[in-house]
Symmetry: C2
Amino acid sequence: MTDLPPLRPATRIVDAVHESLREGILSGVLPPGQPLSVPELARRLNVSRSPIREAVLQLVSDGLAVEQPRRGVVVATIELNDVLEIHEIREFVEALSARLCAERIDADGVAELRSIIARQEKCVAKDNAAGYFQTNAAFHEAIGRFSRNSRLHDILISLEGQMRIGLQRVSSEGEQRRRGVLEHAQIVNAIEKRDGDRAERLMREHIAKTRKRLAEQIRKARGEVAA
Amino acid sequence: MTDLPPLRPATRIVDAVHESLREGILSGVLPPGQPLSVPELARRLNVSRSPIREAVLQLVSDGLAVEQPRRGVVVATIELNDVLEIHEIREFVEALSARLCAERIDADGVAELRSIIARQEKCVAKDNAAGYFQTNAAFHEAIGRFSRNSRLHDILISLEGQMRIGLQRVSSEGEQRRRGVLEHAQIVNAIEKRDGDRAERLMREHIAKTRKRLAEQIRKARGEVAA
DNA sequence: CCCCTTCATGTTACATGTAATATCATTATT
DNA sequence: AATAATGATATTACATGTAACATGAAGGGG
């Protein structure tokens, strides 16, 4: 008999709860600082406390919530500071991701990247900020996937999740988005040519721009407080 | 009254169990593939199953164990492949760590790094391989700490833990260790001079050497299998 | 001899019970 | 009025119960 695809394991409640809470946090329904009370979530989701507790602890491991022992878990608050920390790391791990991607991607992968960029260009043309962010995330996720390093992929996903909590604090102008999509296109060109050095350098510079804007924003905010 | 440091929270059983299992895995008492049966560990450690289950799931999040839904958790097996994956990432995140360290360390920090190197030199002189690995880990951990980026520090610790499981698969000769400690000294020199560019480049090259050795080892192992 | 069924055993996943503890509104005290 | 003591309420951390499920050995049929 020809091999059937393996059955997906019966969805466990804990996974469903984790997914639901994660969505709630990333969409803003559960805002930063919101307590994640195990008994209350159990009542609300109509399951027992065990899978809730496990899911909540998962979120802590994901960096999407923080635990104060004996005082419970709350949705993580991601300050500008944290977003800067995250971009310091992204500057390097996304650069690695781009390099590995250039070495390991296939033609289908390149096509997928080009299609994401096409969607993103439409968002820029229509001045659709939300769509831009979404396709931006898809672009970086795809590059992480094609770099064929599962731990690297996990790190990128973890940073992306935390970033989304803090993202409302970061402004972006249409002109920046216009340049962003151009940079993406250049990165894909380098990847297609298998030029790992260039893909790495372009990606690093791409992220560094945002990092520097963040550092500047923080410097200004600090200045206002000090003054 | 002057502020006393906050009391450490009464040690929770779950934390004690997590620590104990982590030590067991890193020391090799719990070898790769070893099942982590919740009821059995509960009997052995004389506590109920709840804190055991939480601790075991923590280990999964740490990358030190792997879960097969409905089939339990076993200690992670770190193949040469995985060690290579980890070094691909370390090449970049350790380079970042060295750069940030150069920008942010203080005089006490530099003194600590020099003292670690001094200990490491003794290990090399006495051909003490275990001591070399331990001081090596201490060196990279300290640099991670002085880079003052908590998420970066967490990533480095996570990779280090997984590496230690797989480390027995990696050989190291006295000559390599001799060069390693020299490279460490050069990195600290760059850090002391606040030369972030140079610290980053030296660290990247330092890790890349190990990465390339690993890739070579894997290529040879594959060749033998194919032949 | 190989394959399938059956059954015994042990585990996971979830549910629920409860003591110790944290929080907070209210009252009592200076 | 500000601070401290009190008590009501809710939560965490841990313990324990149990149905569904996985595993592996023993037995039966091809």
